[in-house]
Each structure stands twice: as structure tokens, then as C-alpha cells.
């Protein structure tokens, strides 16, 4: 099988996988299953990007998804007060609105896909790291630098919040066993 045909086959397979797992998000009856089917869908999209020679982008997409989807699942389970997410519950609501939104966005995207002119030149063979560096510090510098500084500020803020002494005591209060008073045998 020649490489072109193989990548055509792989892109189609991952694309069908992404659509099917995206459909399964709404067919399951549990929030955790829905969240992880959505992750499978995103991973399939990431795999499509990898096959299309956008390795870095595809892998970063996959890398981000595992943590994000788990956090999303935990928050959904918390808000729904369904501690394990195992009790069956329906995953769809507002049927008419969602049907209109779904069909509408499909039509718009399909229209873009049919009408837009995509470049058909093959990707130049450069080292992706070098290409990424050129992009980060070249024409997209402003976007990436502002996003990068914002993310760094968030990380430092998270450290400051985690390390701060709060009204309940030290940041690690409650994570250390209280010492036992030898004389009375009770915890101080």
C-alpha cells in the first residue's frame, strides 16, 4: 500500500471514530462515560492531525485532553450530586434548540469545507521544533507571548494561593497527623 493511500485510509478511519465517539457522548447514561467518550473523540481528531503531518499540534491536543476531561467529569459529578456518576441519567435536554444548533453548525461547517480553497502544496520537510520556534518568535509572537505570560502568571498565582496561609491555618493544615499527648493519650 502506498503512503498516500495509507494516510487517506487512516484519516478516514480516525474521522469516523471521532464522529462515532462524539455521537456516543449523548447515547450513554453516565456523566463519566460521556466525558471520556468526548475525550476519545478529541484523541481521534488529534490522531488525524498527526497523520496529516501536524505531529506537534495533534500530540499537544491529545496531551491536554486527559487532564481536562477528568477535571470536567469531576466537576459535573460534583454539581449533579451523583457521587459516582454511575446512576443512569439522560445526557440530553432542550431537544429542539440543540437539534437546530447541531444541524445549523453542521451546515455552516460543511459549506466552509466545500467552498473554501485549501492549499494543496505538500508540507515542506523541516524540523517541527525549528518550525515551531520560527512561528512562536516570528509572526505569531504577540499572541503567543501574551498567552505565555498569562499562563505563567496563572501558574505563579496558583502557587501563591496554594502556599498562602488561610483563615483555617497553614496551607497544609489538616494534612499532618496531630501529635499525641503522651500524658493523656489524646490528640492535641
Amino acid at each position: 500500500m502506498n503512503p498516500g493511500l495509507l494516510s487517506y485510509f487512516l484519516v478516514s478511519a480516525f474521522g469516523i471514530g471521532a464522529v462515532v465517539s462524539g455521537w456516543l457522548v449523548f447515547r450513554t447514561d453516565s456523566m463519566l462515560r460521556a466525558a471520556y467518550w468526548l475525550m476519545v473523540s478529541f484523541v481521534a481528531v488529534g490522531a488525524m492531525l498527526v497523520v496529516l503531518d501536524a505531529q506537534f499540534l495533534g500530540l499537544i491536543l491529545i496531551l491536554m485532553m486527559s487532564g481536562e476531561m477528568t477535571i470536567m467529569a469531576i466537576f459535573m459529578i460534583m454539581f449533579m450530586m451523583n457521587p459516582a456518576g454511575l446512576n443512569p441519567m439522560t445526557m440530553v435536554h432542550q431537544h429542539r434548540t440543540s437539534m437546530v444548533a447541531g444541524v445549523g453548525s453542521f451546515l455552516v461547517l460543511a459549506w466552509v469545507g466545500v467552498v473554501a480553497e485549501f492549499p494543496d502544496r505538500p508540507a515542506p520537510a523541516v524540523d517541527p521544533t525549528a518550525a515551531l520556534g520560527e512561528e512562536l518568535l516570528g509572526r505569531s509572537m504577540l499572541i503567543f507571548e501574551s498567552a505565555g505570560v498569562a499562563l505563567l502568571a496563572v501558574m505563579i498565582g496558583a502557587i501563591a494561593l496554594a502556599a498562602k496561609r488561610g483563615r483555617f491555618g497553614d496551607a497544609d493544615a489538616g494534612s499532618v497527623e496531630p501529635e499525641i499527648d503522651v500524658d493523656t493519650g489524646s490528640r492535641t
Binding site: L32, R33, Y36, M39, Q55, F56, L59, I60, I62, L63, M65, S66, G67, M69, T70, I71, I74, A84, G85, L86, D127, P128, T129, M155, A158, I159, A162, A163, A171, D172, G174, S175, V176
Partner: protein, 302 residues
Amino acid sequence: MTTLGIGIQVAAMLVGGAYVLAVADRLIGGSGSNVRSAFSYPVKRLSFLMLQPVTTTERPDLAAWILAPSLLLGLAAVGAVSIPIGGPSPGGDIPAGLVLFGAAMLIVLVAVFIFGWAPNSVLPMIGGYRFAAMVLSIGIPFSLVVLTTAIPAESLSVGTIVESQSSLWYLLVQPLGLPIYLITAAAIAFWGPFDLPEGTDLAGGIVAEASGARLAMWRFARAALMVTLSLMGAAVFLGGYLGPVLPGWLWTVIKTAVLLILLALTGRTMARIRVQRFVWFGWVVLLPLALVDVFVSGWVAL
């Protein structure tokens, strides 16, 4: 090298490394076992588990429960694919191999969480939540120290990173790297002293309801994950296959085995800490240190 060749190489490394880890763990932690019995212990334990009946729970998510160990093993194998074992691969290796490794290691969170959630039982589920809290606290320092090795090498390909250590290992160039990497790697593989998701205070946690072949598969997948993490540690911090006299693959095996034995030793000898304290440690100690590692390495590289 052909795809099949790489597959056989990775499988041999994972199985061999898992055996080394099991023997080392038995020698260090097994009470009252002599040396000879430790070498046959992994085989005996595997046979015992394979003969044991697989118990089940009330209304589990059976598909997820059965598939989660395979997912964990698959992630360990995917993470190992990007690491050159015997020398520079003639076809060139995966250009963004380090990112592939990072992606595989972070999806471990999903495999472990599902394995704890699927039995529909309270203690495994608490173990899964514990693991989520741990990995979300150390995921950023883990990714940062691994990606920092790409700065002096000027490449995300693991082969290039190994080659760039021909004069000096990154263990010495980035002294913060390997310690943070080993701590976070042990947490990602829920290995001691961070085996809190499987803690005895939860009666086994995520494996409390697992038995038989399913437990055997899970144990092997966890050991394979430890091997992959040690392989990457040896490649990016200890110069991988580079070394005098001996052939390259033997250097990779020796360095990986050293890291595995070190992890087995610390896993058995260090005291467990509570999840709350570990989360605090991840955010307040490891993340700033990892940022320092990035800044210093970037400054040195300039």
C-alpha cells in the same frame, strides 16, 4: 529499523524490566524470602493469579473494568516507542517523541481513574479520586522537567536529546531535573511511597475488588509503566545508549535497571505521606523548583 523490530524491542524491554522490578521489589521488601525464591517469585505470583477465579461486583461497568489494564499497558508501550534503545535509529526517530511520551503518560490518569470507577464500589472509586488529585498536582512539574531537556538539545526528538549528551549528561547540566522527574514518575506510576490510590487504608484502593487474571494484567501494566518511565529517565538524563566499551543497548539496559532498582528501594523504604500533604508538596515545592529548572536551563542555553 522496521516497525515489527521496534515492537519486539519494546516488548522485550517491558517484560524484562517488569521482571527486574518485581525481583528487586521482592528482595527489598519481601519478608523472610531468600534470594533464590525472589528470582522465581514473579513467575509463581503470576501463575497463582492466573489460576485464581475472577470475582466481580454488583453492576460493574464490565467493559471499562476489563479494558482499563490494557489501556495502561498500551500507554506504557506507546511511551516507550519514541525512545532509542540500541543507538541512533537509521530511519530517524519520531520528531516530537518527547510530546508523544508526555501525552501517553498523562492519559495514565484516565486509565487509573476508570479502573477505580468501573467496579461500582466505594473504596476503588476513592482510590481513583486520590490518583486524580495527585496527578493533577504533579502533572505540570513532570511535563516541565521532561521538556526542559529539549532546550539544550534544541529538539523534541529523544534520539537528538541523547546524542546531545555525548560530552555531559543532563543529570549534571540540569541537577534539578532527575530528582523531580523520579518523584513525579513514581507518583504517575502510583509506586511507593506514593501508592496512595492503592493504599492499605483503602483496603487496596483501586485494586480492592480486582482479582485473578485482571489483577495480574493490572500489575504487569503498572510494572511496564515503571519501565517506560525509567527508560525515558535514562535516555534524557543519563545519556541513554551512550557509554564506553559496551554496546549501546547494554548501556540502556544497565541505566534503566539502575533507575528501576532505585525506585524499588525508595518505594519500600520511605514513609507514605497523606494525599493532602502530597498535593501541597506538588504545588508549593515541585512546581516552583520545576520553573527554576526551566529558567536556569533556558538562561544557560542562551
